[in-house]
Amino acid sequence: MAKVRGAIVVDIERCKGCEVCVVNCPTDVIAMSKDVNSKGYHYAYMEHPDDCTGCTNCAIVCPDGAITVYRIKN
C-alpha cells in the first residue's frame, strides 16, 4: 500500500499566509510556499505529504476556511 494516509488541499486564493496551521500540525507537514497568491500572500502547502495523517487540526484552526482534508479510512 501507498504510505500516504492523509492529504490536505489548500485553497490558495483564500489562504492569507497566517501560518497558524503550520504550528498546529502535529507531524510538521505544512510549510509556507515561496510563491505568492494573487494577493501577495505566501500560501500554505504540504511540504512533507508523506507524513500527513489527515487529523484535520490545520483545517479547524484555519481562520479563512481554506483547507479541505482527505483521509483514507482503513
Binding site: A2, V4, C18, V23, P49, C55, P63
Partner: protein, 276 residues
Amino acid sequence: MKKNLSEDFSMEDSLEQIIQEKNLVYRPTRLMTGATLSYCPGCGHGTIHRLIMEVVEEMGIQAETIGVSPVGCAVLAYDFMDVDFTEAAHGRAPAVATGIKRLWPDKYVFTYQGDGDLAAIGTAETIHACNRGEQICIFFVNNGIYGMTGGQMAPTTLEGMVSSTTPYGRNVEQMGPPLKITELVAQLAGTYYVSRQSIHKAATVRKAKKAIRKAFEVQKEKKGMAFVEFVSNCNSGWKMTPNEANQWMEDHMFPFYPLGDIKVDGKLVKNVIQDL
C-alpha cells in the same frame, strides 16, 4: 504476479488516490458564503464565524437562524455567514436581538459582538438583556483592544498592556482595572449558560465548538441566556505575527481570562467573586 505497489506509485499517484470525495473528512462549511473575509491574516473572527455556521449546519437550523452583527471588525459578518442577519447600532445588538426573539420566539437569534461593542458602549444593553434572561445567544469576542479603529485601549485591555492610547501600558490607577464582563453577567439570574473559550489551537477550537452547540441547545430549550466569550487575538493591533500573538495570548490573557465554563445549567461552577 502482483508487484509491490508502493514501488509503482509516485507521490502524485498516491495523493490522487487520497484526494477523492469518498475520503473527505473535513471541508469548510457551505454555510459560509465564500466571500473573502475582511479580517487580517490569523484573526480569530474567521474561525468563530465558521464554528457558529458549522453548529447551525449540524443542527439544521439555517432557515430559522437570525444573527445580529455589531460595530467593529465584525461589522460585515452578514457578508460571510449565510443566515439571515441584521446590523445593530453600536453596542445595541442585545436590544435588537431581544426584539427579534420576542416577535419570533421560535427563531434562533444570536448576537456576535466584540469587546468594544459589548463591554464598552453596549454595557447597559448587555447587562440588562442578560438580567432579563432573554432567550438569545451572545457570542462575545474579546481581544483586549479596539481592533478596527486602530488598537486603542478597551475596557478589557490588560493591566500594563500596550495599546495605541496606552503607549506605556495600561495604568490601573488612572484607567481602572480591566473589566471581566463575562464573570459579571454570570452572576445575573437570567443567564443560564456562560462560558469562556479560545480558538487558537485545534483542541480549544473543538471545545469552543461544543460551547457554541451548547449555547444553541439552551436557546432551543428556551432555558435563558447563553453567553459565550472567545478570548481571541488581534495580531495587527498587538503588533505581532499571528503565532506570536497566540503565544502572547496564552501567556498573558489566559491567566486573567481563564478558559472554561463559568455557569452551567443556571448554576455557577466557578467562584466568580474571587475571580473578579
